[in-house]
Symmetry: C2
Subunit: 410 residues, 2 copies
């Protein structure tokens, strides 16, 4: 077996045993790019070997997606197929597992009129709202991993030829997903224990507010009573432990919807629905984005902020040390799955219910009452750097350093 074949096999193994933690009798739904059949077949095989009853692959092709955005009539973006809503909700209700294999060109939708993208986002957001709610409440097992596409690889490694770029991106993806040594499954267990130690420490602190300081950033983020710092593995309703993201390097919680004020500046490009947004700044008052600017992708940022009212508020605050392996690789992936794990980040949009005490069993109105933001979208953006300091403000108003120069202060 070549080194690549060995790593691909290990990657599939980690996805099935750690990411999804497939249980006997489960149905697995995989969304996968048509150019990664080897990975998909390995995952399907290992899922069946782990006891899956059925593995359904819903393949996607960037080119077909783009053709629709270029050629379909406007009304095509106002609707979302009912059968697909049924497929996703049925999967959740039957205790299925869901795997997304991210692979798209970060600039897939470059040049597409923003109105079309916004309409598509609204339609899918509304149609899948119930399913997404079940997902963020961890009612079922779900995981996101990555696989290179030639277009994505060319963006990450613009100086390499196509074949070499794809190989380099595979290598970077394997490293980011901690596919090292002979037993990466064991490695993931150790990594999980470390993330849990960090999150438990933060949970004991009960900070009321976080204060961010960096060039272009002076931001205060209040946290709701009963917030829970999460990180590492998740647990679904049946008690199955899974990793929603692979890689995952973050410790994160849900902010108080109306408790953010000040200004924050992005430190990495954001690929939002196939458009890059770069060097952007958001200004918050009482939690709401009241002003924004962007050196590149202003229209895409505007589209994002206008998805719904909740898109103007934060839904996540996440801590990732600047010395994390992904950050230290120096690679900009132009893909949130990876870039968010290289950098402290925030998210606009829906807040995670599981980051609040008893949140998993709360209805929408209860979550709102507890101070959580709700939205049909949830988009991470990166604000970490070697110059970022973060303080935690305790109940009594005293400040403690959490991050200094981008890394954990304790």
């Amino acid at each position: 077996m070549s080194d690549f074949a060995k790593k691909l096999d290990q990657y599939a193994e980690v996805a099935v045993r750690c990411g999804l933690n497939i249980q006997k009798g489960q149905t697995l739904w995989i969304n996968a790019p048509i150019h990664a059949p080897e990975l998909v077949r390995l995952i399907a095989r290992k899922a069946y070997e782990a006891g899956a009853k059925n593995v359904h692959v819903e393949w996607y092709d960037d080119a077909v997606t783009r053709l629709k955005y270029d050629l379909a009539p406007d009304e095509a973006f106002e609707e979302y197929p009912a059968w697909r809503v049924k497929a996703m909700e049925d999967l959740a209700h039957m205790d299925g597992a869901y795997l997304w294999i991210a692979s798209s060109d970060p600039e897939l939708l470059k040049g597409v009129p923003a109105g079309r993208i916004a309409a598509a986002s609204r339609s899918s957001g509304k149609a899948l709202a119930k399913w997404r709610e079940m997902m963020t409440a961890d009612k079922f097992t779900w995981s996101i991993i990555g696989a290179p596409s030639p277009e994505w690889a060319a963006r990450v490694f613009p100086d390499l030829d196509r074949k070499a770029a794809v190989e380099a991106l595979w290598d970077a993806i394997f490293r980011a997903a901690r596919i090292v040594g002979d037993d990466p499954v064991q490695g993931w267990r150790r990594h999980d224990a470390e993330l849990q130690r960090r999150r438990d420490l933060l949970n004991r602190k009960r900070y009321k507010k976080l204060h961010y300081r960096a060039p272009g950033t002076n931001l205060t983020v209040a946290l709701p009573d009963g917030h829970i710092w999460c990180g590492g593995s998740s647990e679904n309703e049946k008690g199955t432990v899974f990793f929603a993201n692979m890689p995952t390097e973050e410790v994160f919680t849900s902010p108080l919807k109306e408790g953010t004020s000040g200004t924050v500046t992005s430190t990495m490009p954001l690929s939002y629905q196939g458009n890059l947004i770069e060097n952007f700044t958001l200004t918050f008052e009482n939690g709401r984005v009241t002003d924004f600017k962007a050196e590149k992708g202003y229209e895409a940022l505007k589209t994002l902020l206008e998805v719904d009212e909740g898109a103007r508020y934060l839904g996540e605050v996440a801590l990732v040390p600047h010395e994390s392996p992904i950050s230290q690789s120096g690679i900009v992936y132009y893909n949130t799955l990876y870039d968010e794990n290289a950098s402290c980040h925030l998210a606009l949009g829906n807040a995670y219910a599981f980051c609040l005490e008893n949140g998993k069993t709360m209805g929408m109105e209860e979550r709102k009452a507890a101070g959580l933001n709700t939205s049909i979208t949830h988009v991470d953006f990166m604000i970490g750097s070697g110059e970022l300091d973060i303080d935690g403000e305790k109940e009594d108003g005293t400040l403690e350093p959490i991050f200094r120069k981008g890394n954990w202060a304790f």
Copy 2:
């Protein structure tokens, strides 16, 4: 543009303009193999250009299919996903168009226990019965075309290397689909007119019975009152003209369910659900298969005959001259879409309602009363050769030659 690129473009054009005849505002659903993205993208582009509102591609991968048959538990084959039934029925009700791109390895399921295949066939047959009924009644537009897979190509051209075999199969598929000259769309219109001339002639004859004679074959097939010979283009409920199969060389009708007697011997291999059945003989009494044998694939044939009671009766009788272009190519495709258009054939299973006067508006019970077979399956098998004679028996018992030595006698 290379000659291949030109032909691929023409093939996509013929599929969209003739096969599907896409109308403004239609949704197109394509089932396609993941290894034929160029063809699929061309079809999607041309469909949008013809006014399609949405093109959805449901990709499939033989390897993932086979993994399920090898590794899933038995109960996985007893169910069929409700979301997919909804997808297909919604498509039909919204006047959508459906395209199947056939590409599978003819021996994909070789060695799979027959019980699993039969269970899967029963489950999908039952779940999709309503949709299939709408399909065979031409309630909506549907079409089947082909594209090579490496495995399929290797079977058709076992002496060529993989790349050459795929090229040779593309070439054979283009020829079979009449992708010749500069205007194949016009060529299809001429071909359609010729098929219509044959079918109109047979419709004027009103034969009561057909008598088949060939080595290993001595068969009488009665036709129901009001039978209609069909061939060439079809017409959906809205009056859109389309070709359900590309290629299509046949003139065909529905037999009287209980009116077949005698023995018939196959003249070409039949790929049934991924297993080859070869040199098989069926004996009929009062329409029902009462005895059968096969030199190869006996179990697969048995599985087919046991799908349901209707699988024991004929549902189609089709006339194709031995001198048809596909037949003259001498290529055995191991795929019904092609092989049925190289040879006179019969089908076991469901009869076409549209081959009966007023059949399209008949309910299931009315069709049965009119003498049509009903089944959840419909499988063609080839009986044509250069040695086949067919006579038509008129109302008054006189016989007229229809085929002599495999070709039209008039």
